[in-house]
Symmetry: D2
């Protein structure tokens, strides 16, 4: 399991976002509360939108809690759309190409959970990836293949539909291989403007936690000293696999089997259902 | 805080020693039970005696639990005297030169605990290191300076006396700087033949845990499937900061403020008292 | 391009093999003479046979010339069959899973050269890998896929035939994609007993260099101070992508388009010709 | 030896500065022309001024030429004062704390060259560092000790004088230890506003190369496609250990034994002479 955070709003310093709260993502890398694994020390990654249309990605194979480059960089990078991820490896080796977020063009993707029995279903899944996209796969994780399946199935045009089709495909292939619960997932993906978040697990299995922040005005009153909240605009939003603080009322749980989108205009929240391949 | 293990006996495979028990050192790197820090993910090191009089040292800056080189090497290295250490950094950066065990000539040294307020006492302590030895210091930890102080004060001739003098010096310097509890320590050191272990903290403070194994014959009966115990000779001994298994009776706690030696012939256990500089 | 070395004979210390000659492999990592790239600083790996039937592999992502673990380990590891490789990456990222030698069961494989336009032919090649073997692929290099193709096509039973079939397949796929010169290669592979070496390039292109040592008795006279040669048995052999010293007469060039085997009994040298898929 | 670059002017993208020229610093990491060592693959570092008064520093222990984080970050970081350094280690290990530029408060420092026989003079030099500053030393290089000597001797108030006194001290200590040529140096240091550059070697020894760019207007005409030059203001300046391109007339060599300052207002160039301790 892993822990992740997605932010959208007015530009904030990464240090305020990643380090500046009681139970920050960096604290979670050492002591997560809600995941299966308390320690998320198998590498990390951050992605943000800056000078180019394509986002920047900075990744490390050391635990996030003692990466000095991350600590230093985050004091000098300001962005209005940030993804951050700390990894607890299931099988795939700890190497930069296995660290989230993954990137394709102007899109980012990160995942908590796993495609079960990946070693047995991997080949069949990889065959479904569009041959042109296949060339870009660099690592050996289930999460990256999941991303490329979603891209193949239309992520750039219809994110919720593409993820539903990718999940349906993973479930169909898993079942063909006799995998009981093919998939656990919380997923965040973005095109640099909106953030889509998904919470789901196959066949009614327990689902990983997923939360989004209540409106910033309320939070700001509760944490008057928090610099990130001071800098964040009123419509700023956080989507996280685990709350960053303990205050009741600051975080809403995303219901099981649902997806939402944080976007310019009104946010949305819907039920999520996989679409099986015909 | 850190966790460590020292083995002396007939040659065993490192994999059996490091991975082959219920609560092995590698498991402790992720989930220690007795230390202040549950996670010891800030690098690791092993030292062993092999082809040369000087021991080999292999160190890594990644967490021990996912280091593939360590896993692989340990299946092919067999030794009769092994030190292993997993680190939880207090201040000093995670770099190879800060990973234990430290080596000088044919000696190894590892330490759990800390010289408190090291940043303020470091200069005065370093000044006490013999200028010729000073040249060898490569890292920035308190533990390495402690080792070089002990070397300066006669470690190679009289280990218990030299450690007592080094501790006395650290306490005197600490008090001069107003440090309340100058030192916490469990220490293991070896010349390739005997292993000396120390347990102590200044001014009656709580002391880090330290254990040694009961005789191998008993252990072998309790763990009939343990390959290391099968290979270990009857006089083999383990000294550890935390027991490797849960079975009652297999481990003896070293009493507070004491030192012992595992050696050819009878082992010894004595009270430990610092010797103040005159 | 990369540089590599394979040794077979009586057990020698790795330090003598890797560091103890004028133009050693470690020197070649910084200053190769014959390759396209002078610097081979993009990771390294060594494989050797020790305690188990399966070989040990130790790999690093730093340049070999300043890896302290390699320096230290090599002074304590003695083996009678050793592979060593320093990498100059063409495209694939510098990560442990992309460092040679690659291992499957008791086999090792290393490669200098490249499958040209790999990004375009990769998918078609990977599809030809046996699905059970496919699960083991961890990295993203052409060399590893080449190894798994050879394994799929019978490497364990008939190494020269399997490599010929793998090369034929790579050429057929490359040509289908309009690649002018599909493959450059010098390859070494071993089952722990014999070493097979190959030198070849598609369509008469220039071929990477490959040498084997003349008999040890002669070399020993020429280098009376060389510890490795003192330890090596008379039938010991070195196969290298570049000579380890400059003395004329010590090294025989393997002719273009040929393969040889160093084995118990008489060594062999034959012409190499790819076998096209039907 | 090492290679370095310092930039001052209107904000430019790091990617244009580090990668966007024929013989860029990243190219020099693999193939330097003027230094003693062609390969500068023993780590790297960049420092720049951004959100805070204190500069950001990003360092790596891999060769700069294949660091993907550096490549990615540099496309999203824009700054008007940048230091960049690629290292060829003489003795000190390759670890982040040994990578230039070094930082203290709002100052940066980088060095090409060495304090000769550092292992023997180190202790005497370190003793001269102000005890409060001593606490900040984290690495084991001569260059970092040089920086802290300069800080001790007034760098923040009078950079040329402080460096002259530090050099005088290094020479006095070196001579006391019988070192023939105590120091080789090109040095760059900055407070975030001005850049001071120094070129010197003890006792008339050969001096490392040092260049500064001619005025940007001329360069822009010579390289009409260079994005960095397009973005750079007319008063922008580059100080480099080796020219970034081959065009005659674009670079001025700093004369031996001199120092200069790039600053708001007119730049200056003076002779450099060490000041011996009394």
């Amino acid at each position: 399991m892993c822990r992740w955070l997605a932010y959208s709003g007015s530009p904030v310093l990464l240090t305020d976002l990643l380090y500046g709260s009681e139970h920050s993502l960096i604290v979670q890398s050492l002591h997560a509360r809600l995941g299966n694994e308390e320690t998320n020390g198998d590498g990390f990654g951050i992605g943000w939108y800056g000078e180019e249309e394509a986002p920047a990605v900075f990744r490390g194979i050391e635990p996030a809690w003692n990466d000095r480059n991350l600590r230093d960089l985050s004091r000098h990078i300001r962005s209005g759309l940030v993804f951050a991820h700390v990894r607890a490896s299931t099988h795939a080796p700890v190497q930069l190409s296995n660290c989230h977020p993954f990137r394709h063009g102007s899109w980012l993707w990160m995942h908590n959970g796993l495609i079960h029995d990946f070693v047995h279903v991997k080949r069949d899944l990889v065959l479904e990836v569009d041959p042109t996209l296949y060339q870009e796969i660099e690592g050996s994780t289930d999460s990256e293949v999941f991303f490329y399946l979603a891209l193949t199935l239309g992520l750039e045009d219809d994110p919720p539909g593409a993820v539903a089709r990718a999940v349906g495909l993973i479930e169909a292939v898993g079942e063909r291989h006799g995998v009981e619960v093919p998939l656990h997932m919380t997923v965040a993906t973005t095109d640099g403007e909106s953030i889509w978040g998904f919470r789901y697990a196959s066949r009614g299995a327990d689902q990983g936690s997923l939360f989004f922040s209540t409106d910033v005005t309320t939070l700001r009153e509760q944490y008057p000293d928090n610099q990130m909240l001071k800098d964040a605009s009123d419509e700023a939003r956080l989507v996280v696999s685990e709350p960053l603080g303990s205050l009741a009322g600051a975080w809403n749980e995303v219901p099981p089997s649902s997806w939402g989108v944080v976007q310019p205009g009104d946010d949305e929240l819907h039920g999520f259902e996989p679409i099986r391949p015909e």
